[in-house]
Amino acid sequence: MILGEEDYITEEGEFVVNMGPQHPSTHGVLRLKVWLDGETIKKVEPHLGYIHRSIEKMSESLSYRQYGYLTSRMDYLSAHINNLACALVVEKSLQVEVPARAQAIRIIIGELTRIGSHLLWFASAGLDLGGVTPFFYAFREREAINSIMDENCGARLTQNFMVPGGIVYDVRPDFQSRVKEVLKQFKDNFHEYNEILTGNVIFQNRLKDVGILTKEDAIAFGCTGPTARASGLSCDIRKMYPYDGYEKLQFDEVISTGCDSWARYEVRMAEMLQSVRIIEQLIDNIPEGDIVAKTKNVIKLPKGEFYQRVETARGELGVYIVSDGGASPYRCKYRSPNFANLSAIPHIARGYKIGDLIAIMATIDLIIPDIDR
């Protein structure tokens, strides 16, 4: 095959549209090359690399205290959870015991991040399908969560809070009451989301039976997170390989067997409520004590390979570190959930309409910087 051969239009009436890198509904600089027959999609080809910053390579020249900070720039909506993965892999290799207080706060912050991320997904899913109003409803609550993040870790977007051994600062004295306030606000307003989008017949018709991702395909493409759980695949890392104290908590893994975009929507909506449940178990029981375990000033990992996975808002994030015993990773590799989830799009979008491609992208919930890293 000659390189670029498939770019040629072979049939009459077929034409190629570049969705992106600047396009309102790719949520970033993803470029989807779409072969169309009228409105019907014949083929989709994702082109990546527009926001590649070589985070993995950069990590090789950073210390184990520093390299985690870059991960806030990968999946910026799950910044805390990404940081947690980097902290956990160091703790795992050094066999550091994390103080109970730090663990509890990590989980609370992590779950707040998950709610905030799903809220943004809800907002943009509504927006992608043409409804502007849900955006403002969801941002009202996301704003409240963001201000908690702002108060406690000092940032609203590229948040950094988790460090190897614990957390970087103690939370503010009003942390508990503020979180409870936000949870109450969220629960009180949750019915509004259902009224404006979930119950809307146009919205349901746009998502139902669109973008069928079967369980076999989900496994084959390596999909994880809500995307795979909507295909009936049980893959919640918090349940399967509990980390950081998740094993002590009561929560359900939300699984749907719908396999379509609507199932993915429902799974995420239900997951928000599960996150609320997790936080509620912890918020009144934050133990007193240290916030960070004692580690050496210069952390050096023993020689070997280390892997740690966590469940971000979009799926499984794996951190793989090869150490030669030095102060920085010899090789660092992230297994990012969005890259795998994106690979399913060309397969599941075929045969649907242009509007459906938008619905599929909205429900798979891609974060482009996480794809390229």
Binding site: F15, T133, N205, I354, G355
Partner: protein, 342 residues
């Protein structure tokens, strides 16, 4: 002095035309402001509130900005058609205003086939949109324009049929006659359920006809990055916006005239005293009140519903609205023959 007479007529026409033009531009400004405020009201935010009292001058600021923007024409575009398209769209929008009765005895053009005129003139907008989409030489614009063709042509049928149901009842195509026929009660009350169905069908179909959400597939920012007007900037783009608001006004005014009595006050047949009290409210207030009410409803659609998909859009028309309208016209005809409506 025949020459003088012609001169006078021309002067009159020019003055009326200018007044109407200024009025419609101001109306488009007002509707733009209203839309932002309605959106803000529905989205728990404030809306424009910086320029002028309560943000009323925001739209003026926006217009000034658009005036000073460069009116780009893409290199690959068909320049003549590209520049002609906004003109055609706004002209068709303005033409449709002519036969509308704004108040008692206040009508620009009392044409005896007003209903037919409006539905035929407003359907010409599709030519402008197709022209804009084709001449832009942009794939998104082209998809948008093709969607527009399918959409407007389909939904015109339902609009036509719901207008026909009232024409059957009044026996006249003149908007003035239709308003006069509602002196003892508006059609929506007199016409029982069939006319209510026709009203609902008309509002839905005309929302689609003027390409407003949830039927804004022609523009569909998230899919087509703006559809047929992707390549337009500056005043040419502003003309599309203005045409959109004038069209919104026209369909709402037609709905108000045909179904809600136009400038006719709220009358109940037989209650002379009550009717006289209602007559004290000026007819223009009635007309604009009803029109704004329908505009408000159509604006609420936009800020509530997500967008339909193209096949769902056509299904809605061909599988639901059109059959319903056809049966409805038969019912209305039966009603007219049996004189059940009085």
């Amino acid at each position: 002095m025949i020459g003088n007479g012609i001169l006078l007529t021309i002067t009159e026409l020019v003055i009326v035309g200018l007044v109407l033009l200024v009025f419609l531009i101001l109306l488009a400004f007002f509707l733009g402001y209203m839309e932002r405020k309605v959106a803000a009201f529905m989205e728990i935010r404030l809306g424009p509130n910086r320029v002028g009292p309560k943000g009323t001058l925001q739209i003026v600021a926006d217009t000034v900005k658009l005036l000073f923007k460069e009116g780009l024409t893409p290199d690959a575009a068909d320049k003549f058609l590209f520049n002609l398209a906004p003109g055609i769209i706004i002209t068709t929008a303005l033409l449709a205003v002519a036969p509308i009765a704004f108040a008692k005895g206040f009508q620009i053009w009392d044409i005896n086939i007003g209903v037919l005129y409006i539905s035929s003139v407003s359907s010409m907008a599709v030519i402008g949109i197709l022209m804009a989409g084709w001449s832009s030489s942009n794939k998104y614009s082209l998809i948008g324009a093709m969607r527009c063709g399918a959409q407007i042509v389909s939904y015109e049928l339902s609009i036509g049929l719901s207008l026909v149901s009232i024409v059957v009842l009044t026996g006249s195509l003149s908007l003035n006659d239709i308003v006069e026929s509602q002196a003892n009660g508006w059609w929506i009350f007199k016409g029982h359920i069939p006319v209510m169905i026709a009203f609902v069908v008309f509002v839905i179909a005309s929302t689609a006809e003027i390409n407003r959400a949830p039927f804004d597939l022609v523009e569909a920012d998230q899919e087509l990055t703006g559809g047929f007007n992707t390549e337009y900037a500056g005043m040419k783009f502003a003309m599309f916006l203005m045409a959109e608001y004038i069209n919104l006004f026209v369909v709402s005014a037609v709905a108000a005239t045909i179904f809600l009595g136009g400038w006719m006050p709220f009358h109940i047949g037989g209650l002379t005293g009550f009717n006289h009290i209602m007559d004290y409210i000026p007819s223009s207030v009635w007309f604009f009140g009803k029109t704004l009410f329908i505009i408000f409803i159509i604006m609420q659609f936009r800020w509530t519903f997500p967008r339909l998909r193209i096949d769902q859009l056509l299904n809605l028309e061909w599988k639901y609205l059109l059959p319903i309208s056809m049966v409805n016209v038969l019912l209305v005809t039966l009603m007219a023959i049996m004189s059940w409506h009085l």
